[in-house]
């Protein structure tokens, strides 16, 4: 079974500062995907960034980057130059590579507040 753990229920950061959200997971799969999703108050889940486990290079998307440590099964999200619009719930998720097994496994989320 796959499990995803986010140990920080809530975090806050000053506008323009950098914040890191933690995520660990457990799986017996050797290849898989990891995701960070953002859920603002509108409830719309938005994909922030995706990492393929077989790629050693950490994924980056503008101000968002990940620190993927496969051996440690750790997948943290770094948000640089935080903006007020980054205030949201952030969910870490795991997905298998195998065809036909497409549902994602989610952590319980981290509520991030950006303080002006």
């Amino acid at each position: 079974a796959q499990t995803v753990t986010q140990s920080q229920p809530e975090m806050s950061v000053q506008e323009a500062e950098t914040v890191t959200l933690s995520c660990t997971y457990d799986t017996s799969e050797s290849n898989y995907y990891l995701f960070w999703y953002k859920q603002p108050p509108s409830r719309q889940m938005i994909l922030v960034i995706r990492q393929e486990a077989y790629k050693q290079q950490n994924a980056t998307e503008n101000r968002f980057s990940v620190n993927f440590q496969k051996a440690a099964k750790s997948f943290s999200l770094k948000i640089s130059d935080s903006q007020l619009g980054d205030t949201a719930m952030y969910f870490c998720a795991f997905g298998k590579i195998k065809t036909g097994a497409n549902n994602l496994f989610f952590g319980t989320g981290t509520r991030l507040t950006v303080i002006p």
Binding site: Y32, R50, A93, G95, I97, G100, A101, N102, N103, T108
Partner: protein
């Protein structure tokens, strides 16, 4: 183009009543997923449809829950004899195909169900 839409946005019902939640996926997406988000929890997988294949119902919590997808497009999640523990946000997502989790899942805004 249009994203995933869900209706109703909010639903309040009395314990014991049946409810139907609707999801319109992105046109051309063959894969459709239902998730449940309870207060303080991550997203819990319920059911997955891929094209004309038999759905993966492994996440449905009880036989009071069922879903169908007509014509490979619109999906309806039905909860019979609702209980208070069914209160949650029900999220629908679609993806271009079911070839593993690498295909991005696009989420709808969800239906907030409250069972009194």
């Amino acid at each position: 183009g249009a994203g995933v839409s869900q209706s109703p946005s909010n639903k309040v019902t009395e314990k014991g009543k049946d409810v139907e939640l609707r999801c319109d996926p992105i046109s051309g997406h063959t894969a459709l997923y239902w998730y449940r988000q309870s207060l303080g929890q991550g997203l819990e997988f319920l059911i997955y449809f891929q094209g004309n294949s038999a759905p993966d119902k492994s996440g449905l919590p009880s036989d009071r829950f069922s879903a169908e997808r007509t014509g490979g497009s619109v999906s309806t999640l039905t909860i019979q004899r609702t209980q208070q523990e069914d209160s949650a946000v029900y999220l629908c997502a679609s993806s271009l195909s079911g070839q593993g989790a690498g295909n991005e899942q696009f989420f709808g805004p969800g239906t907030r169900l409250t069972v009194l």
